[in-house]
Symmetry: C2
Subunit: 207 residues, 2 copies
């Protein structure tokens, strides 16, 4: 039963590196330290294995965003930071999955769960912010959430290839995007109603 997990993990690694066509059963077996036949005995076919491996890979949780916004700057910065970290850790896998999605849509359908959930969470949060009267003006929540998530996504996908296109330093980028969005929504940073203690904690966490 252990070899099964070894194979699944190896399949994920090799797929992230080489894509579906480059991800041969030979290479998976080598990466898993397992005989190639074992793969077929356990999963029947390469496609069945990859399908299961993809399902496993994309079943992960997401950082939460409070139902009732209290400190928009801190909350949105932290959420953005954890989201960009999630994407950066999986950038190779995501690139391969996006590339393969047109050819094998059913095999990688789980890949859209995380971004869909993230978008729903963020929209919900922004609407709550507006209901609280913390935003200065009318705005379309979907446009705003697509803007922040798009910036984070593009940064996670593109920085390795074109570092000079994205803001420096990389560790602050998510926060900078979040703050720029808050400015667009008219949420004023300076007028935050948090205590000094909270402000300090925010600084530590976002450093």
């Amino acid at each position: 039963m252990n070899s099964r997990n070894e194979i699944l993990n190896a399949a994920c690694r090799v797929f992230a590196q080489l894509g579906f066509r480059g991800c041969t059963t030979r290479r998976i077996a080598d990466a898993a330290g397992v005989n190639e036949v074992t793969i077929f005995r356990q999963f029947g076919s390469k496609e069945a294995l990859l399908r299961e491996a993809m399902k496993l890979t994309h079943s992960v949780g997401l950082a939460p965003l409070p139902d009732v916004p209290a400190d928009p700057d801190r909350e949105l910065s932290q959420w953005s930071e954890s989201f960009i970290q999630h994407l950066r850790l999986r950038s190779s896998m995501i690139r391969k999955t996006m590339s393969e999605m047109e050819e094998r849509p059913d095999m990688s359908e789980h890949a859209s769960y995380v971004p869909k959930q993230a978008s729903a969470d963020l929209c919900h949060y922004l609407i709550a912010l507006r209901r609280q009267g913390k935003t200065a003006e009318k705005f379309d929540p979907k446009t705003a959430s697509a803007m922040l998530m798009g910036a984070i996504f593009a940064d996670a996908m593109g920085r390795g290839m074109m570092p000079d296109v994205y803001p420096q330093p990389a560790e602050k980028a998510a926060q900078m995007y979040a703050r720029l969005l808050l400015k667009a929504l008219g949420v004023e940073n300076g007028l935050r109603r948090t205590t000094n203690k909270q402000t300090k904690r925010t600084k530590q966490l976002s450093a």
Copy 2:
């Protein structure tokens, strides 16, 4: 000499559909209506052909952005619209290239020319805007340009897969992102210092 171009175009089409490994000389030859041997006589190897095809694909111009901003809303909306159209037309090719870039960096290095140029253009424009005093506050041009370009890029790449995550209608999305960015920079649409005539024209174009 004509067969050479047929082969190059076919190679681009097949690559955009199937990626490097799926882009076999057999399939390229079929798509080009040419005998497979002709490919090797003309280009020597599959890799040499693909290298040349990629170079050709990524040598395209970009919509300009004025050196001296006059009507930020109109200019930025139009630029965003042409940029998102550029990306949407090439989304398959871009996905494949991004996926292949880790494995064959030298083959697809030209792919970064357009986004790099776009980023430089946009930064330059935003800095000019700020110098004109049309922006309300201090801001980091690179963060702002990465934000708008990221939103546009993610929309172009992801809308087909998750249409409910992005603003509707698709044809207005680029403009909505551009306007949200202008809000973040404190550029006031209503308080524009253009003449009535220009304002009218803007309204028509942006409707």
